[in-house]
């Protein structure tokens, strides 16, 4: 689908209260819907003044997340990821 907006999740592993699961870091998915804005939980968790942040529901295929180990490659995982963790990218190459 050419109108899908693909995003890559950042790979960094900062300490602290982070809502981006480690198993999705570096993976490419597409925006299923946009949400928010919400106060950034990474600041909120420490009692800091939280900036508002945009939240995206990003859909990943099992093939993208687990590679050849995927139980069923076309099944999907949707997760909510804050925009500052996402970078626009090209669609993954078709196999």
């Amino acid at each position: 689908m050419s109108d899908r907006c693909y995003m890559r999740v950042a790979t960094h592993m900062p300490p602290g209260h982070v809502r981006t699961p480690a198993y999705l870091r570096g993976k490419v998915g597409w925006v299923e819907r946009k949400l928010g804005p919400f106060p950034n939980p990474e600041q909120l968790a420490y009692g800091l003044t939280a900036e508002t942040a945009r939240l995206m529901r990003v859909r990943f295929t099992m093939a993208e997340v687990w590679g050849p180990q995927a139980e069923c490659p076309d099944d999907t995982i949707d997760a909510e990821i804050y925009a500052h963790w996402l970078e626009p990218t090209d669609p993954p190459h078709a196999t």
Partner: protein, 221 residues
Amino acid sequence: MPHDHHDHLSPSGHPYRPDDDHPLTYWQQMEIAIREILIEKGVTTAAEINAQIDTMDARSPANGATVIARAWTDPAFHAALLDDASAASASMGFDIGPLKLIAVENTQDVHNVIVCTLCSCYPRNLLGLPPDWYKSRAYRSRTVKEPRKVLAEFGVTLPDHVTVRVHDSTADMRYIVVPARPDGTDNWSADRLAKLVTRDSMIGTGLPKDPGTIAQPLPSG
């Protein structure tokens, strides 16, 4: 002679639950200390805390079942629920609070299942407290990796043509599954349909009950 032996069984044959004669943990002490300080300083009262516990205990999957049964019988509400589940639930008197709710619908081609890999996010306003297994490391880690195997262990075996969509409740949204309405329920009232909607069917680890298991309503006279 029930007391002669089998110390681990009561006279009526039930196992004794061991007394919890151990010191409070760090976090138990911390909870008590903070609660007492808040009451002492007049920030809250014991009555308010008890009222909040009662409110939490009063929530049950019956709330969610009422919402699902209405979605099955009222097309306008069905559309509203899928568009904005927080607002649709609130319109039925189920206040979602500051959290946002997303309803995801099971169809002939798609099966949805909810998990929170990071902690235990759960739509408590509609389903009450989460079951223990929902918070277990096994459920949280396996559901994103091998959802079909996990579902099969719950008794839900899906054909290959059905796509499984796992929803990891990672941040500010909560999720509820709208199960597919069972066949053979035409003309059923919403009240009767609600009896088919189980907690697990709204998490996605179950399906609604078989309509044959629900007694016919008495004919109205």
